[in-house]
């Protein structure tokens, strides 16, 4: 198998999925009508409802759905071998991913731009909305835990990374100043800040700077509590401070301009990696297994005697692979973006497929590219053993950085620069999401608890509580388990989205099997994955250091809560499905 052939298979998946299956559903079942006024036109208020050009909306949708999920998920899933991961990315997107994104947009458009909270209340049951909100809250907390560990433990602990990241953040602030205060041209601002960002990343690679950071990191054996080392603790704290500023400062001052500069770092990295891969066109390494084993046990697939740390088995391929790769195949968050954001900006109904379906298929391409960074980027240069040792050291993000740097080296970018560049790329991707999450959690706690405890309406207090909860998840537990829970909460939201669309289709007398079957599959798979995770974390408590012990208890409780909430939701869905009309009977 050649890497370019894999990309071609991905393109074929896009061509057939988008060109045949999606178009047929769009034409025969949803039947978009451009003569109908969309909510964006009907209720244009300049705040939420504003019509936008389809290409602009495509870019907006893609940027909103594609972040760290489609990059890290496939790399972790390679533990079962590259073939199951590749198949799930392509088949999952083909039959479920685009279905959810596109149908969520259409549901929003046809239901006056109502959000999923309101639709859950109306179509399923009043408590379905509350369950959805709790899914969202846990999802956000788990994002903080999973991404915080990636950045604080893995990426920032590398001496070549932090200075680059901090300088890019400063340059982002400069971009905000140039745009909003000095009113400078956006093209000039972009050119200046992106070039400066590259210089910033290069400064981070200088040996003097690295020596200083190595000294700050201290000895890897120095632990602060439990198994948390000083470097992990310190850099996680820095990450939380960055998140604090992102959550409390005005969006134009911090989050927006930093995200803007970070976008170019990410975009140029993906572009450079893709071109480099096409020039390189390596074959898959012979020692990299297409399928390792059912339990994703790397040490059963290869000799682990040379690996410093032990690497445990992930668990059974079904169901765990299907929650490990969430974004990239299907993600519940997309349905919320699609219904609350995109559906309210759609100019014509016929744009929904291009925007929702098209962006999802493009995300699939990103997931395939990420898979290739592990299989050929790392596999060709370091072999399967190289992948195993990086994973064993907890460097899942490091796999991507190594792979991307190898790909970019074929367009002339030296690995010595490409490696920190890949790490800064991932760190920025995670950070730009994390401070938005903290912002969101602060608003959520004010909404949930503000009336009973007015202190939660205070911005600083709400933010500090969100950060304290995040720290708890970052400094405790096992990353792989948190990642599975994060995927589980995400996939439960996806199940709910597919359920809402199914109920809506049924109530409108349309064919609904194309959403009902994906709903049933995702629902059963996710519940099983969460039950397995709960069992695994709660049955292995003895002998753990304090941080892992607390983390396992937390993970177990969350997994059990998610399963219980999902079962209640399933029961309400069953009742709603049996009703002649799909509207929930709400008590006055």
């Amino acid at each position: 198998m050649n890497a370019v052939i894999t990309l071609i298979i991905g393109f074929l998946g896009i061509a057939v999925g988008y060109g045949v299956y999606a178009r047929s559903i769009d034409k025969n079942i949803m039947q978009p009508d451009d003569k109908k006024a969309t909510p964006a036109k009907m209720y244009m208020d300049g705040v939420d409802f504003t019509p936008a050009n389809r290409n602009v909306l495509f870019g907006y949708q893609f940027k909103s759905i594609a972040a760290l999920g489609p990059i890290v998920g496939p790399i972790v899933a390679v533990r079962w071998g590259w073939l199951p991961a590749l198949l799930w990315i392509i088949v999952g997107t083909f039959f479920i991913g685009w279905v959810q994104d596109y149908s969520s947009i259409m549901l929003g458009v046809r239901e006056d731009g109502q959000s999923f909270g309101a639709l859950s209340y109306r179509l399923v049951s009043p408590r379905a909305r509350t369950i959805l909100l709790t899914f969202i809250y846990f999802y956000l907390l788990l994002i903080m835990g999973a991404f915080g560990k990636i950045v604080g433990y893995d990426l920032m602990s590398n001496p070549a990374v932090p200075i680059g990241v901090l300088l890019v953040i400063l340059i982002g602030l400069l971009a905000g100043q140039m745009t909003y205060k000095w009113k400078m041209d956006i093209i000039l601002t972009s050119l200046v800040t992106v070039v400066l960002a590259f210089v910033g990343i290069w400064i981070g690679t200088l040996s003097g700077v690295q020596s200083l950071l190595t000294a700050i990191n201290g000895s890897p054996d120095t632990t602060v509590f439990g198994s948390v080392t000083w470097a992990q603790f310190f850099w996680s704290l820095v990450v939380l401070v960055i998140c604090y500023f992102g959550a409390v400062l005005p969006i134009w001052r911090w989050a927006q301009p930093i995200n803007y500069v970070a976008f170019w770092i990410v975009f140029l990295g993906i572009l450079g990696g893709t071109i480099g891969l096409l020039i390189w066109h390596p074959a898959f390494p012979a020692d990299f297994p297409a399928f390792t084993n059912w339990n994703g046990d790397l040490c059963a697939a290869t000799d682990c005697s040379g690996v410093e740390k032990t690497v445990g088995a992930m668990g059974p391929l079904w169901p765990l692979l299907f929650v490990t790769i969430a974004c990239g195949a299907i993600s519940g968050w997309h349905s919320l973006v699609s219904s609350s954001g995109t559906a309210r900006q759609l100019e014509k109904e016929s744009d929904a497929l291009y925007v929702g379906g098209g962006a999802m298929f493009l995300e699939m391409f990103l997931a395939v590219l990420s898979l290739l960074t592990a299989v050929v980027g790392v596999g060709v240069t370091r072999g399967f053993a190289g992948y195993v040792s990086l994973v064993a050291a907890g460097k899942n993000a490091g796999v991507f950085a190594v792979g991307l740097s190898e790909m970019m080296s074929h367009i002339g970018i030296p690995v010595s620069f490409g490696l920190p560049y890949g790490s800064v790329f991932l760190t920025l991707m995670a950070l730009t999401i994390m401070y938005l999450v903290v912002r969101f959690m602060r608003v959520a706690s004010a909404e949930f608890l503000g009336d009973s405890i007015p202190l939660f309406k205070n911005t600083t207090f709400g933010t500090l509580v969100a950060l304290a909860l995040s720290a708890l998840f970052i400094w405790t537990g096992f990353w792989a388990r948190i990642w599975i829970l994060f995927g589980g909460a995400n996939q439960l939201m996806a199940s709910l989205a597919l359920l809402l669309v199914t109920l809506w289709l049924k109530s409108n007398g349309k064919k609904y099997l194309w959403t009902l079957i994906p709903f049933a599959f995702m629902f059963v798979t996710t519940i099983y994955a969460l039950l397995l995770t709960a069992y695994k974390v709660l049955s292995t408590l003895s002998g753990l250091p304090v941080d892992k012990f607390v983390g396992n208890i937390l993970a177990g409780v969350i997994a059990i809560y998610l399963v219980a909430a999902a079962l209640i939701l399933g029961w309400d869905a069953f009742k709603a499905f049996r009703r002649p009309g799909a509207e929930a009977k709400v008590e006055a």
Partner: protein, 100 residues
Amino acid sequence: MNPFSSLPIVSHKLRNLLKTLGEILYGATVYEMVRDLHKERASLEHMFTLVVFGDLLGVPILPPYYTLRLLPYVVPNITGWRRSMLRERDLTDLCDQEIT
């Protein structure tokens, strides 16, 4: 047959392709910034309308003299403003940002 006869078509298609790519890039970069600014402006306008014409929503504000002077300018936006102010919102309304 003139081999250059298809050049205008090719150049037209190329222009369209570049325009499309430019729009997609705009959507992924600056659009969100522009949208946030529009939102900010519209929120301030809505707030102003609420202060001056709050009685239209049942807020007990005695309309001052200046309300009448401003009325002609506000009339075109009143329907959208009322709908926006009275629309039920929950947390899922905030989920239009990049978080995954």
